[in-house]
Symmetry: C2
Subunit: 760 residues, 2 copies
């Protein structure tokens, strides 16, 4: 027995030490000299332009630690980054903010092309709004190289620029079979980006679809990660996604390339919010999707709760392999609209505009869908939608409480009457176990349920078996993020500031807090310079029946939209002299998205109503109940012309408004590049009247919406507009004119298949 106790003492006594550092030079020297077991402590305060290359050789028992003196009191700001190279290095409690990386990564698990990290860890750190000044510039916030590295208990939010937030690199034998751990993190909001390359996580790329990765993504909280259609893009083999929560995140967990992923025990919460909130999208071979819980998701097609795609026969490496040998079992769908979508992406009808190598005609085969539970409180007559045949899929013992009126009615999707109980917040569980489970090949490996309860004795259809543990929590927030940072900001009570005169207006605009309302006294305000908007501001009139008038005389924009601008113009009259723009973004460094809302207002005599720069992005541009007249150009969201699926605004609402004598480009809203999966651009054009517009329009099209995917075009009136075409709508995306009135104007054309430049 004695030998058990001897070994642990049998090492020579080595000095390990704590080294306090308070500037970069001291830090560099400490790193230079560090040995296994050492702890380097960064002094509290702001570390500006900190370019940290943390190199060293720790051991499993004795890692080398680099940490903040006080958790959350060490701020990494300015042009900073952190790179790791070596073994068993650990970084704790740093706070990245007010800056961005001057290179391509904020935190990088390598120093250079030859020096990688292995068994290294970033934990309890925060990266917040550490985004590039230029949205078009690509970076990654955390880039994995090497093997056995860890990102844990971090809070990461606010990336607005191009590039996945977390990227796992697999290029080279040094990085495969990496078993990286990405666990217990809180991925806070990532704003909409407009186009692709806004993933919160990407593991590999299309060139690593054959590479064994074994990255482990577990117990993370993804909160409103809205960057693009893929929250996580898995592009390598054997990745595992377990017990993560996807909360109101506009996108899906997508098995884009690579095979044999495990998606087990995850929670997808839509809460009946945006139709952009999706679930799991399946491509490729051999995935197991089990024990997941989906709640109130409204997404469909690419964003369906379960989207199983059609593939391209003998697909090129970067396109869509056929789905084969997938197992989708024991998942629960509560109040999701049509949870099953099969053959998603089938596009045989488009063979005239697409090359053969783009036609997704290969249906899923050798795929088992079994023991899933679908519950709808109000009944959902279409639990399954198919875009192609589904004979290659074996449906067994799936249960729904609604009738199935869909096109396919597999025997294995049974309608049964059953109840669910609300057990805790967002958690609905059947009143009893439904034990008639199908035993598919290797199903005995599904040993537990969503909560880790053993299935052996109490198996049931769906993600959850009874009995439940006491007080089951669907989302246990104590698991995620750091032990020192709170993502919840104190709520600001907005105030209304009454303003009279230009000087007061200018000063109030400067001093107002974000959210405040500037209420103008009636009268005319002669304004000689730009009003800079860099926060949430409402400008309105005190007397809505006698609106204030702002007269602009300088040639700079009336309103200069800065990053994070959120401007509401309500009950105000804006008037220019045709030498300036009413609204314009900065020409560059539009770090973050802006919003513009015009309501019950009047805009006249401007050069452009809205002019934007290429890198700018509006989440929403809205004009309602307003009059726009006598402008040279209208709303121009057409500068992002890289033709790679990007665009300048996510939502454009123009409703109940009048456009008179806008000479050119009343609206030019553009998205270029064919990519079926990055669905983007939303235009609502309803109940407007356009008169005498388009006189100087070069392309003779009044409303340009080329490439925008979602368009509602209805109840407008067009009078005396001397153009050839009012608009060209995209039939394949379901666009059609509804109840418009055309008088002495061009016509509205519908093109079924729009020819776009292929992106790849």
């Amino acid at each position: 027995m004695l030998c058990l106790f001897i070994t642990s003492c049998n090492t020579s006594v080595e000095q390990t030490k704590t080294i306090d550092v308070s500037n970069i030079d001291e830090l560099n020297q400490a790193i230079e000299n560090c040995k296994a077991g050492d702890e380097i402590v960064l002094a509290d305060g702001i570390w500006k332009d900190a370019k940290i290359e943390f190199k060293g050789k720790g051991t499993k028992q004795k890692p080398i630690v680099l940490r903040a003196q006080t958790p959350g009191k060490v701020f990494i700001e300015g042009e900073s980054y952190l790179r790791l190279g070596g073994d068993y290095l650990e970084v704790r409690n740093l706070y990245f903010r007010n800056g961005y990386t001057p290179r391509n990564t904020v935190i990088d698990f390598r120093i250079d092309k030859k020096t990688f990290a292995n068994h290294c860890k970033i934990t309890h750190c925060v990266i917040e709004d550490f985004t590039q000044p230029d949205r078009d510039r690509t970076d990654h916030w955390v880039e994995f190289w090497g093997r056995h590295n860890e990102l844990s208990n971090c809070y990461i939010a606010g990336k607005s620029n191009f590039g996945p937030t977390v990227m796992v690199m697999l290029k080279g034998n040094e990085h495969i079979k990496n078993y990286h751990q990405i666990v217990n993190n809180h991925f806070g909001p990532r704003p909409r980006k407009g186009g692709p390359h806004g993933e919160t996580m990407q593991i590999g790329d299309s060139g690593t679809s054959m590479t064994p990765s074994h990255t482990h993504v577990a117990n993370n909280f993804f909160e409103r990660c809205n960057g693009e259609v893929e929250i996580i893009s898995s592009k390598s083999n054997y990745n595992e996604f377990r017990n993560n929560v996807f909360f109101e995140s506009e996108g899906s967990l997508v098995l884009r390339h690579g095979n044999y992923a495990t998606i087990d025990g995850n929670v997808f919460i839509g809460n009946d919010n945006s139709e952009f909130i999706g679930g799991i999208r399946v491509i490729n071979t051999g995935h197991w999707i089990t024990n997941n819980y989906f709640y109130k998701l409204k997404g469909s097609i690419f964003r369906a709760p379960l989207a199983v795609m059609n593939g391209i026969p003998k697909s090129p490496q970067n396109r869509y392999n056929q789905v084969t040998d997938a197992v989708i079992a024991h998942n629960t769908y509560i109040d999701c609209k049509t949870p099953f979508h099969f053959g998603v992406g089938s596009n045989v009808s488009q063979k005239d505009v697409l090359p053969a190598s783009e036609i997704r005609s290969a249906q899923p085969i050798r795929t088992t869908v079994a023991n899933n539970l679908i519950f709808s409180s109000e009944g959902d007559a279409y639990p399954i939608k198919n875009y192609d045949r589904v004979d290659g899929v074996l449906f067994k013992n799936n249960m729904t409480n609604s009738e199935n009126n869909g096109d396919v009615k597999p025997d294995g999707l049974m309608t049964k009457t059953f109840e669910v109980n609300n057990v805790s917040d967002l958690l609905y569980v059947p009143a009893k176990n439904h034990e008639d489970v199908f035993a598919g090949f290797d199903f005995e490996t599904i040993t537990t349920d969503l909560f880790g309860n053993k299935r052996a004795s109490n198996n049931s259809i769906g993600a959850i078996t009874l009995p439940l543990k006491k007080n089951p929590l669907l989302i246990d927030k104590s698991l995620y993020g750091t032990d020192w940072f709170s993502a919840e900001k104190p709520k600001y009570e907005a105030k209304t500031i009454k303003v009279a005169g230009v000087k007061a207006l200018t000063e109030a605009l400067k001093s107002a807090n974000s959210g405040d309302i500037l209420a103008l006294q009636s009268g005319t305000y002669a304004i000689a310079s730009s009003m800079v908007i860099d926060k949430r501001i409402t400008i309105t009139s005190q007397d809505k029946t006698n609106k204030a008038t702002l007269e602009f005389s300088s040639s700079s924009p009336a309103f200069e939209m800065n990053p994070s601008a959120n401007l509401v113009i309500e009950d105000v009259i804006l008037n220019g002299n045709k030498s300036q723009d009413a609204f314009a973004t900065l020409d560059k460094n539009m770090t973050k998205a802006y919003n513009l809302w015009i309501e019950n207002s009047e805009i006249s005599n401007f050069k452009n109503v809205l002019r934007v720069s290429k890198g700018s992005f509006a989440d929403t541009v809205s004009v309602s109940n307003s009059i726009i007249k006598d402008c040279i150009n209208g709303i121009q969201l057409n500068k992002e012309t890289n033709d790679k699926g990007d665009y300048n605004a996510e939502f454009v609402y123009i409703t109940n408004s009048e456009f008179n004598n806008v000479g050119n480009n009343v609206l030019n809203y553009y998205r270029g590049g064919y990519d079926e999966s990055t669905i983007g651009g939303n235009l609502v054009l309803q109940h407007n009247t356009f008169t005498n517009c388009g006189k100087t329009d070069q392309d003779h099209i009044l409303i340009n919406n080329r490439g925008i995917v979602n368009v509602n075009f209805s109840n407008n009136t067009f009078k005396n507009n001397p153009v050839k075409l009012i608009a060209v709508l995209w039939g394949e995306k379901g666009q059609k004119p509804v109840d418009n009135t055309l008088v002495n104007s061009g016509k509205i054309e519908v093109v079924q298949n729009l020819k776009l430049k292929l992106m790849y």
Copy 2:
């Protein structure tokens, strides 16, 4: 301590029994009733048309055995097959011969689409010449399904028809991660087939390139497996090829699809034989090729000792992925001509005739070639050949005893003076260890050498480290095949039979043994029916200065070439009446290849000199020092028109001969279907004279050799042939006319890039 001994006795005593069966009904009943531990014994004798479905549930400790009463005395003949379904079944000592399967498999590790074998074993069995009557019909002799099955110590030879001999199927989760064992077998000769689908082993297909297979192929002896350019075609992931011997086999071990193969400790023996004998061809990602020994290989390009291919960027699934992350280390090349070929298949120059998705421009990247040893007794100034750039390959500490005059001279390919000793048959080993080895990433996992000696203490460049064990055997024949069957047939001493008169000739032909020579007395033999050739026969004249004349009068072929015919016509005059063919194959059921040699003979007045059927295949057709005249048609090897890379003859030699007044198709030798890797068809046309030929030729081309890859066209004379073209040669394959004389005939055209139908 006691507990260790108790468990093994702790099972209830079950009766296991031996069941003797002597016919199919008894066998079926025995199978019906069999239990774990039972042994079913087939009575000695011939089992004709035996369709055996061996189903049962054995256990690891108690397999169910089906075996021959006496090893090698149970013959499975006629239309027979064996299928296995269940667990732990074992089949021993059966001999498949004189027949073929009426289905698609001879031995199948499944009964039907739902009943598979797991942990089942075929051992010490023989399958010999059990080939389909029709060469065009596809089957597999051993088809693997399920998991953990074994083919061991078998002798398998003589498959002539379409389809890999051994096929591992991976379609479905039941068959992945199969860990099948294919070990200690002797794969005897597989004849040339002419075109693709003649592999000796194939593991998966292009649709399973993402599937983990883990098939283990070890200690097998591949003897003259000449079926096609790929002896083994690996088309799935994680397969292992260890310690196999490839002996004078015309083809390569090809990593066609799938990734992460291990090729360790294999031996490739060319013995300076055919240029078709290759080594290892590399495509895809992550392979480790270590400790292999290559001896006197003359193959090049696709058949090079080491062929590392270029890939197609973003390749379609069934084409060529880029080579990435491969490790090629510690291999030894002894007297191989230019062992390293890189960028094989680069075809950028063909972009005018091929679609972009066929252009192999992606060079190997992130690939390490290190610690390899190249020795050439006579010096080889070109140890490496490159068809594209090789900057993506890291060469380190490779050693050659010759100067490198090649186009690329990587630092890591060093010229050093060193000696090798002949230690045993075919085995050459450096006189001392060359310890300056490169330590690449994960190279510490290469723990042993070709013979299993530890590298830790005595590492060396090349496949072998010193000291050697005593009496090292490169090829230990005791390891391979059954314990009861000898593949070596007693050698027959051919005899010469003197023949005078038609009757004697007819009778002698019937009674002769294969290999005999029929020597004809001078004079004229009037022959009224076909002479059927189904063995190796030489027909010659006793007096070479006064040759015998055979006069044919019937309209059936003068010589009917049956399967396995090997006919030598030497010093004989053949004369027809223009109503019959001189030589013709059977119209169908040409099970096996035939050979035809015409030497110092004269052939005149036939309808066709040679007419073949679609399914027929000649290994060699040779005409030398002979005269062919006054025939309507010449040699027609043009019936295989499936345009899938198949053709009717491997070698066609026409040398030192005269063709006079052959009206049409003097030679028509055809191969259709573009497939760069199944290199086929060989024509030597040298020192011939063609006069007054081609008068009735429809296509106005005298010599048709479309699609034939290797053509030597030199020193011929063409006089007064009224055709447009003498021939069209294929520039891209290096074909060109050399020293031909053209008088009043068409011209010879060289087309650089022949436009062929794509095969896939």
